[in-house]
Symmetry: C2
Subunit: 342 residues, 2 copies
């Protein structure tokens, strides 16, 4: 999940120098700086590219902007047959600033931790592309299109799948060492619609992804569907290595269901970070214990990647994140030691 | 789910005469009128009391109001130990207008269809009581309290459980023929927190509910948790007759899981109603087929109560609701006939 952000004063300082969110995201130097800020504070095990999922619709010509204190806006949303028909996979050169940031961050990391690249899923991008921004409640615009004109929705999603695959492959070429697909709004869909309009296109993305970088190193793939816990058994069939799960999922059950073939990533409720450090640590231990010992004495078995169940809130006190990272490291070391003895 | 509402011009006319939402909800004549409006348009099989879930916090002295075009506001939210300590089960006389409306509606229905009473769940009421209104994103206030001061949260929930039980029992006394507990925000909770802070208090409510009305007629109990699909097996242990499920749930799976002891209610995505009538009918048939034939040839087996998976949107064209009700009736008659032959 997002590591950098408004909860860090140093992020706010950089953003203020950049002038705007897009000024920050499109500037290689600033993007590198804010990506590394959380690593300088916390003993994190990986870095994630600082960017926004709407860079791809922006490169498609939909006109992204961020008004202060509001969410993202797309100036030219897809509302009719004509605009959907005109949608094209973007020229990846328009996203060069992202790939340059990946290369710059990778260089700045200098092997300290691996760098994760990411994209929104085809469905999640489509939500914003049709609505023209976030939805306060019911995704009325995009769901109206989905149920009224599934042909238009499928056309958008096919273009998005192609674009997302190209975008992630270019991130791999630029130096990303793992890639993550965020299906932040898959969980808004009805059973059946999720499979047809989200999962199917995530699978298309994965089918087009490079398995290795130019040096032949395998690039792990992570898929996260917020609110997707009910569909884990179907997501198990995805050609990916890790499934991210939100905090509604019981990790022991999820492990029993898909742990044979997938690692699981998650799933602390980010709201836990509003509580004092002792409670943060206790909840982190609970999440680790829910999953259970990652490796048996023989060194095999399913893997757990500790993470939040969704993005970190801007209202999070940084010292609570510190307590979280410490608790995860010390308690998982404890669990591994106990596992070896067992 | 809500049947009356802003999607109906006759509702808007009554509300305009009432002057405000609370003017509507607290006036027996108006509440009766708007409860019956959907029945005059559509061949519905039940009526549901027109009211708001926040009547109970209002009676507790938290000061409910609805600003035009905005959600509900509570003037005196519970933010600290003192306000939580002062919270009391309300004098039910303050909710007399609700019970009078139930009696009036029951009389006006005159046996046409049964009348369902309802309440918010203890947890869902607590969400509003701590936040002071709805939450645009993460229920930060209420979750901060839950993780930081679980003792305060448990105190609120214990008072709420007592209040909700009294409120529903008084609705039964007034003439409600079934009662429904809406846990609209149970799905915002993490696994483990849901069981501790939502499910447990819903169970407390059910334990205090009357089983029959004064005439000895059984009062069925319905529990709906939006986003609760992952916890259906735990909800099966609730002392209720029906579990409501939202549109993310696969009805065939849910039936296999809990259909042995519970009827299922749901689960059409209300956004389907934005599509043209033919698609509405097709999606309604899909929901019915997902559940499958309710009764086998021998007249036994699990029951499906067709419903939306959540409240109807104010943007719904009424003629689409008409198409829905027709499709449900004709297709379920067809399925029953086929089931008898089989």
């Amino acid at each position: 999940m997002r590591q950098a952000g408004r909860y860090l004063p140093e992020y706010k300082a950089t953003r203020s120098r950049a002038g705007s969110f897009m000024g920050l995201a499109t500037n290689v130097q600033y993007a590198t700086e804010v990506t590394l800020q959380p690593l300088d504070r916390f003993a994190l095990d990986a870095a994630i590219l600082f960017s926004d999922i709407l860079t791809v619709p922006d490169a498609m010509g939909l006109g992204l902007s961020f008004a202060e204190g509001e969410g993202p806006k797309l100036a030219r949303p897809l509302r009719d047959e004509k605009s959907v028909g005109a949608l094209q996979v973007p020229d990846l050169e328009k996203l060069r600033y992202v790939f340059d940031a990946v290369t710059s961050i990778r260089r700045a990391l200098n092997g300290r931790v691996p760098l994760i690249g990411f994209s929104g899923s085809p469905w999640t991008l489509a939500c914003y592309m049709v609505e023209g921004g976030g939805s306060s409640d019911d995704w009325r615009g995009v769901k109206s299109m989905l149920y009224s004109r599934p042909d238009l929705m499928h056309r958008i999603l096919a273009v998005n799948a192609e674009a997302v695959a190209g975008y992630l492959n270019a991130q791999i070429d630029a130096g990303a060492q793992a890639v993550m697909v965020f299906d932040s709004w898959g969980g808004a869909l009805a059973d059946n619609a999720f499979q047809e309009f989200s999962l199917r296109y995530t699978a298309q993305v994965l089918a087009k992804l490079k398995r290795t970088d130019a040096a032949g190193t395998t690039i792990p793939r992570i898929v996260f569907t917020k609110g997707g816990g009910l569909w884990l058994d179907e997501m198990e069939k995805l050609d990916c290595d890790v499934l991210g799960v939100d905090w509604t999922v019981n990790l022991a059950r999820a492990r029993a269901l898909v742990g044979g073939s997938k690692a699981l990533q998650g799933n602390l409720d980010p709201a836990v970070l509003f509580a004092p450090p002792e409670q943060v640590a206790a909840e982190a231990r609970r999440v680790l214990e829910d999953f259970g010992t990652p490796h048996s004495g023989t060194g095999t078995g399913p893997t757990h990647v500790f993470n939040l169940g969704h993005g970190i809130s801007q209202h999070t006190p940084p010292e609570h994140v510190h307590a979280l990272v410490e608790a995860v490291h010390s308690h998982s070391a404890h669990m591994r030691a106990a596992g070896r003895k067992a």
